[in-house]
């Protein structure tokens, strides 16, 4: 059995790495990846609680979060591509879409 506080600290580290990534990166795709990192940290947290509370619901939440994360990535990347096209259609050498 791994001690619960250890896992929670681990997930807190991953989460704040994600927070840093979101705030410090300028490339929209990379910001989205950092958000995925944060969601994964939350999942680790939930599964750790589920394991220590001897309950299944934490794992069910993690499953929901994975589904929602997939949906979010789909929309986010669609917006990135739309932004790319909109800017490209105006002036090709002005494309610096991945900053926001």
């Amino acid at each position: 059995m791994i001690r619960l506080p250890l896992v929670l600290m681990f997930s807190a580290l991953l989460f704040s790495a994600g927070v840093y990534g979101v705030l410090a990166r300028r490339n929209a795709v990379m910001v989205l990846m950092a958000i995925e990192l944060m969601l994964n940290a939350v999942n680790v947290n939930l599964v750790a609680f589920s394991s220590s509370l001897h309950q299944m619901s934490g794992q069910v939440f993690a499953l929901f979060i994975i589904a929602v994360a997939a949906a979010e990535v789909g929309i986010g990347l669609a917006i990135v591509i739309l932004l790319f096209r909109t800017r490209e259609s105006i002036n090709v050498d002005e494309v610096n879409l991945l900053k926001w």
């Binding site: 791994i2 619960l4 250890l6 896992v7 929670l8 681990f10 580290l13 790495a17 994600g18 927070v19 840093y20 990534g21 705030l23 410090a24 490339n27 990379m30 989205l32 990846m33 995925e36 990192l37 994964n40 999942n43 680790v44 599964v47 750790a48 589920s50 394991s51 220590s52 509370l53 001897h54 309950q55 299944m56 619901s57 794992q59 069910v60 993690a62 499953l63 929901f64 994975i66 589904a67 929602v68 997939a70 949906a71 979010e72 990535v73 789909g74 990347l77 669609a78 917006i79 990135v80 591509i81 739309l82 096209r85 259609s89 105006i90 002005e94 610096n96 991945l98 900053k99 926001w100």
Partner: protein, 206 residues
């Protein structure tokens, strides 16, 4: 040292290292590859934390589907388009570091103070996992959480439609008239690019 502790101490530092790698490298493809490794290490954590089903889902959905989608878009937009040098706002990186450290500190305090008070169900984890983890998960998912499950289906419909609406436009759906509307488009008219405007997060786009 029991085996699962050994596995934890191998994979947890690796996971944190790849996470940090992901947020500091400049090249988008390198970042994506760091993230794939990170997703795998997290899958291993699920295995250690009595969630073998999520271990499989993590690898199939995250390391498989989501990362392929990321790489696809990165390749589509051009591999060399990594992170631009410089900062979005003055001092943003410092703020980010301070905020990240503050979050860890806050959570650490709460974890130290708060663990161990929660009542636990009696018996081991195996007691709530009769017939194996996927079956027990399905039991809870389709009885207690059937309604959120249905809401997720609506969410996925919205997401699928949304992605289609956003991405479909360039084909025949864009009339000549709309293209002309675009031609006269100009960022300054929206004030979105106004440099130094209060509250603007983004930097001015040239």
């Amino acid at each position: 040292m029991p085996l699962d502790n050994v596995v934890f101490w191998v994979f947890a530092p690796l996971s944190v290292a790849t996470a940090i790698g992901m947020i500091v490298v400049r090249n988008a493809v390198h970042a994506a590859l760091f993230l794939v490794v990170n997703f795998f290490t997290i899958a291993v954590m699920y295995l250690l934390l009595d969630a073998p089903f999520l271990f499989a889902v993590q690898i199939v959905v995250y390391a498989g589907a989501i990362m392929v989608l990321f790489l696809f878009v990165i390749m589509l937009l051009g591999v060399d388009r990594g992170d631009a040098p410089g900062e979005r706002l003055l001092g943003q990186r410092t703020t980010a570091v301070i905020l990240a450290v503050a979050i860890v500190a806050e959570l650490a305090t709460a974890i130290r103070a708060g663990i161990g008070f929660t009542t636990r169900a009696p018996g081991g984890f195996d007691a709530v996992n009769p017939g194996g983890n996927p079956s027990a998960l399905a039991d809870v998912l389709f009885r207690d959480y059937f309604f959120p499950f249905e809401v997720t289906s609506i969410l996925l419909i919205v997401a699928a439609v949304a992605a289609m609406v956003l991405a479909l436009r360039r084909s025949k759906s864009l009339s000549q008239r709309e293209i002309e509307t675009h031609a006269g488009d100009d960022l300054e008219a929206y004030g979105l690019a106004a440099p130094g405007a209060p509250g603007t997060v983004g930097e001015p786009s040239r």
